[in-house]
């Protein structure tokens, strides 16, 4: 067989397998990104202005999401570490219970929070007596965001901690470092990619939390609830400016962290 014939056969073998998958991949990508393109075209760039109260919503979302994220990381990291390191009988039950808040639809979660922290419940009553009202207040808003974001962070952080070889933590101990030093100098640096992914995920969840917030903390209004209110009161075209801001504040941090962790996979 001549060389050209051989090449022709190889080429014809590759074509039918490669092209359909590539075309399908492109089609699916277009399908996924088309709504974002629609936003570009739908926005009235000559008359780009915020609705009244939009700037307050941005301020509320940024500030309280930041606060919620901080609390999620502070409380979720020890829990994730504990889940990754301790093995005991019946752990599967704890694992299953942990999935419960993750799998509960946000609206249902909101109703559950109202039942637990509402002014007429025993727990809510206790908080009210201490001066902390957990309905339609800033603390309620942060609480709702924490419930929305923490399960995702804990799962991601736990996977990150589980990815750190236990042997390296043990070696650190034999080299004279106690558990705390080992955590800071070995576990944390080695889990940092997974942890940053968890932080990014938690940030998006907290910023975008709508279902829980709608039930528990309609006020103070953050971006998601304000978007919904604008949509109800003024129609589709009124929400685009705020929607742009929403993308600008919610997406860059996770996107940057995601790209960074992909690039720094290896030391």
């Amino acid at each position: 067989m001549s060389d050209t014939a051989a090449i022709a056969i190889t080429a014809s073998r590759q074509l039918p397998t490669r092209w359909p998958t590539t075309l399908t991949a492109i089609a699916v990508l277009v399908f996924l990104l088309a709504p974002f393109a629609a936003l570009v075209f739908a926005t009235d760039w000559h008359d780009f202005q915020f609705a009244p109260g939009d700037l307050d919503a941005i301020r509320v979302s940024l500030f309280y999401s930041g606060l919620a994220l901080m609390l999620v990381v502070l409380a979720g990291t020890p829990l994730a570490w504990w889940l990754a390191h301790y093995h005991y009988r019946g752990k599967w039950l704890v694992d299953a219970l942990l999935l419960l808040p993750l799998l509960t639809p946000p609206l249902a979660m909101g109703i559950l929070l109202s039942s637990l922290y509402g002014p007429y419940s025993p727990v809510g009553g206790l908080f009210s007596q201490a001066g902390l009202y957990l309905t339609n207040t800033a603390p309620a808003f942060v609480l709702a965001q924490i419930y929305g974001a923490m399960p995702y962070y804990v799962l991601a952080a736990r996977a990150a901690f589980e990815g750190v070889p236990e042997e390296l933590e043990q070696i650190s101990r034999t080299l004279g470092r106690n558990r705390w030093q080992t955590f800071w100098w070995v576990t944390l640096p080695l889990a940092r990619l997974g942890l940053t992914a968890g932080v990014a995920l938690a940030w998006v969840r907290a910023m975008g939390e709508f279902g829980i917030v709608l039930i528990v903390a309609y006020f103070p209004q953050g971006i998601p609830v304000k978007l919904w209110v604008n949509l109800q009161d003024m129609g589709l075209s009124a929400v685009y400016p705020l929607l742009w801001v929403f993308f600008l504040v919610a997406v860059p941090l996770p996107l940057w962290l995601g790209l960074r962790s992909r690039r720094q996979g290896m030391f």
Partner: protein, 337 residues
């Protein structure tokens, strides 16, 4: 240094042994050798001394696990500096240790960019940075290539001698034990035998130890006679007889096990029946092992012989034919039981 450790979980171990200079604890995989090292390092619960009751970070030991467990996010020198107190001289001290193991040029590299032998030396430098009183090595030969293994081992042993720290290395590799200053054999959770390698290899105490040390031929027999210079051991049906060197604690009529190394058997077809320990056996299998030849023979007894190529030259070894083989009496090792 005397080591005494009791473990119940995950394996049962009752270890009492000496550690002198470079000591090798030989044992099969799954015997719990790694667990013993972890117990001494304080990483799993156990009773024992030295260091019993101390938290892992307070025990003055250096531990090199299999694969060495270098921190992948730290450069070679940062790995070595890990146990050193934070301060101005930290980097200089780490560089000094790396110089001593001959790796100062690779100080800026991450572990992923180092070879197996280089990683081992970085791990050694890191373990020594704490000035340990005892160095624990887990299977130090397992991650090394055959081609460079001996060289790296020689260097490792020289380095630990230089540092003057006693070493306990656990391994399943008899070759490593041969290079040791002192050795012990772990069998069924206890130390079956310990001593200088020369003595242990020549005189294994039990069949289990002999098997671990590479003996392949085991024959059940009885001591027939003890003379001034040696003994005679015979098979149960008196179908074979072997002269052996004199060994203590033996008496006529005693049931014994005879152990012979495959490489100690030599073809003796020119010697005839009058030579000591000459046996005429039928060749039942032949297998090349590198440049040597493994010959399996049967007759009055079954023997496995490893012939170096020098011995094979000019000899026609054919399956099914008979062959005279011989073993020097001093190489016939007799064990009680």
């Amino acid at each position: 240094m005397e080591i005494r450790y009791l473990l119940e979980k995950p394996v049962t171990l009752d270890i009492q042994m000496q550690v002198r200079d470079f000591t090798v604890l030989l044992g099969l995989s799954g015997e719990g050798k790694t667990m013993l090292l972890k117990a001494i390092a304080g990483l799993i619960p156990a009773h024992g001394h030295p260091f019993g009751g101390l938290a892992a970070e307070r025990r003055p030991i250096g531990y090199l696990p299999q694969g060495y467990a270098l921190f992948p996010h730290l450069r070679a020198w940062e790995n070595v500096a890990f146990p050193l107190p934070r301060g101005a001289g930290r980097r200089a001290q780490a560089m000094d240790l790396l110089t001593r193991v001959g790796l100062v040029d690779l100080a800026e590299r991450y572990p992923a960019a180092l070879s197996g032998g280089q990683r081992q030396r970085v791990a050694l430098a890191r373990a020594l940075a704490r000035r340990p009183e005892l160095l624990l090595l887990d299977e130090p030969t397992s991650a090394l290539d055959m081609a460079t293994r001996d060289e790296i081992l020689d260097e490792l042993i020289r380095e630990v001698h230089d540092f003057g720290v006693p070493v306990l290395a656990v391994s399943h590799d008899p070759h490593l034990a041969m290079l040791a200053d002192h050795m012990a054999v772990l069998l069924d959770g206890r130390i079956a035998q310990e001593g200088p390698p020369r003595a242990v290899f020549a005189r294994p105490a039990t069949m289990g130890v002999a098997r671990l040390l590479g003996f392949r031929n085991f024959l059940a027999g009885r001591i027939e006679e003890i003379e001034g210079a040696g003994m005679v051991v015979a098979g149960a049906g008196a179908d074979w007889r072997l002269r052996t060197g004199l060994q203590h604690g033996m008496h006529a009529g005693m049931a014994v096990t005879v152990a012979i190394r495959s490489e100690d058997l030599v073809p003796g077809d020119a010697l005839g029946v009058s030579a000591p320990n000459a046996l005429k056996l039928k060749i039942v299998s032949l297998r090349e092992e590198g440049v040597a030849l493994r010959v399996r023979m049967e007759g009055a007894l079954s023997l496995d012989m490893l012939l170096p190529r020098l011995q094979c030259e000019g000899r026609s070894l054919v399956l099914g034919t008979e062959l005279w083989v011989q073993v020097a009496p001093e190489y016939v090792h007799v064990m009680a039981g």
